[in-house]
């Protein structure tokens, strides 16, 4: 399955760029990537990351109710500190406007 995030065609330069999300079985993914390489398409892995600036974060917890996967959560209700589990993050970006201190950002 694929999801096109961005498409840009530059006819003067004779090139085009597609930013895509690919999902499926690893075996099929590798076959697909191999095919594209063979027909001359340049492949560059791209990671979309939500980053938390630890200096800006005050652990207020305003973000946790907006995170759909619980990546941002309070693990220990005694310390009340907000943990950020990157494994659970799907980079939806909902935390970005929710943070009053601009601690959350999206980077490609």
């Amino acid at each position: 399955m694929f999801n096109i995030l961005k498409a840009k065609v530059e006819p003067e330069e004779g090139v085009g760029t597609l930013i895509m999300e690919l999902s499926g079985k690893e075996k099929d993914y590798r076959k697909g990537i191999e095919y594209l390489k063979n027909v001359g398409v340049k492949i560059q892995p791209l990671e979309k990351d939500i980053k938390r600036d630890e200096k800006k974060c005050t652990h207020c917890s305003a973000c946790i109710v907006h995170c759909p996967t619980g990546a941002l959560h309070i693990k220990d209700r005694k310390t009340m500190k907000v943990e950020f589990d990157k494994e659970k993050c799907i980079a939806c970006g909902a935390c970005i406007p929710a943070c009053p201190y601009g601690a959350m950002s999206l980077e490609f």
């Binding site: 005050t58 917890s61 109710v65 907006h66 009340m80 406007p97 929710a98 009053p100």
Partner: protein, 406 residues
């Protein structure tokens, strides 16, 4: 001889001693000698649970309270010093954020919630409000150069009409935080009963009560631990933004005349403090420009206030716990903007901090705007300062009003 009455004065003396009040002078003497017993509000709660009110009153001298949250009614007075030739500033901007200049020639006031001149606000779509007065104040404290732009109509003694220059906190004259309303004694729990997401000063509120936001340090919060203002008053020395300041007046909207629960906790925003402190001594770690998406810019402040343990009554209130302190649930989609006083019930801070509350049979996740970990940090910092005799307590010059002021 017939004995009609006999009374032992020994017992009466003991009873009098137990109720005897300590004084600020006695406590300060102990602080100066580094003999004072100082606990944070959380530590004090544990001690009172373990040893009871009498023993805790005898053993402990000071309890430190603290809070770290957005406090919109804040701003700083700045005296810029004169240019050559001199100028009587009529309008001023700091990093394109308008500052009020209607006092004297070079005195200005930068308000926490003022936004940049070219910020469209919520006109076309919900604004991000990434830079406002609060951010100017944070940048100033951090030692960053700030762009000053000023205009004037010119006078014979102050002929200059325009100026644009960089200023820095090291070069300007006085700069002090002068906040008309800080340290709200309790606040609302905000929910959204409508079908659309709303953007408020209590954060982003999801439809159909999708989330609830509260804003208080609960059992660490200053005025919640001195609910009848017995120790915190005008003239009380406070820890503010990393330095020492004072309560200079009761804050705007100070309203002690509000329904209280059995523990004396007002159920809703009640008392407030007007605070002052030297910007030049502050630390940007504890005073932050803040952006509320779709609402506006503001300033988040870290404040610590010590409570002298003068009597068993002081102990009783200073030992109040999260479960004793409750706040009202208010709908911010219709009731709050339309001045409706009804609430959807109350919840205490223990319930709020659990992460989920129940409202009319629905489970609603909770979040805070006020940082409890930061409040805890500040309470510990203040405890350390007092223990090292770097902070002495002030007896208020005047008590905060306990009745509604006209």
């Amino acid at each position: 001889m017939r004995i009609i009455k006999a009374k032992s004065y020994l017992n009466t003396n003991n009873r009098k001693k137990a109720k005897m009040k300590k004084t600020y002078e006695e406590i300060n003497k102990k602080i100066k000698n580094k003999e004072a017993v100082v606990l944070t509000a959380e530590e004090f709660i544990e001690l009172v649970d373990k040893k009871g009110i009498k023993k805790a009153t005898k053993e402990v001298d000071v309890v430190t309270t603290a809070t770290f949250g957005p406090m919109c009614s804040s701003g700083a007075f700045i005296n810029l010093g004169h240019t050559n030739p001199k100028m009587k500033i009529k309008k001023a901007w700091l990093n394109d954020v308008p500052a009020y200049a209607g006092l004297a020639a070079v005195d200005i006031y930068i308000g926490a919630t003022e936004i940049q001149e070219n910020d469209a606000g919520n006109t076309n779509r919900k604004g991000s409000f990434k830079y406002g007065g609060g951010h100017v104040i944070q940048d100033l404290i951090a030692g960053k150069d700030i762009k000053l732009r000023a205009e004037s109509y010119g006078t014979d003694c102050y002929p200059r009409k325009r100026i644009e220059k960089w200023i820095n906190i090291k070069e300007i004259n006085e700069a002090y935080l002068c906040n008309p309303r800080n340290c709200y004694q309790n606040y609302n729990i905000a929910v959204n009963k409508s079908k659309k997401t709303i953007y408020t000063y209590m954060g982003i509120l999801k439809p159909n009560m999708g989330n609830a936001t509260y804003c208080s340090a609960g059992q660490l919060s200053p005025l919640l631990k001195d609910p009848y203002y017995k120790t915190i008053g005008i003239g009380t020395k406070v820890w503010i933004g990393g330095t020492h300041g004072y309560v200079y007046w009761y804050g705007t909207q100070h309203n002690p005349f509000i329904k209280r629960n059995k523990k004396g906790c007002p159920i809703g925003g009640a008392g407030t403090l007007a605070l002052i402190g030297n910007l030049k001594e502050m630390n940007p770690e504890y005073i932050r420009g803040t952006s509320m998406y779709g609402y506006g810019a503001t300033l988040t402040l870290g404040i610590g206030i010590p409570i002298p343990i003068l009597s068993e009554e002081t102990t009783k209130y200073a030992a109040l716990k999260d479960e004793d302190l409750e706040a009202p649930i208010v709908d911010y989609s219709y009731d709050y903007p339309n001045c409706k006083t009804k609430t959807l019930g109350t919840k205490n801070y223990k319930e709020l901090k659990s992460g989920i509350i129940e409202i009319n049979g629905k489970e609603v996740p909770t979040a805070s705007l006020s940082s409890y970990p930061k409040a805890r940090e500040i309470a510990k910092i203040l405890k350390k300062e007092i223990s090292k005799a770097k902070f002495l307590l002030n007896k208020p010059i005047e008590k905060l009003p306990l009745r509604k002021k006209r």
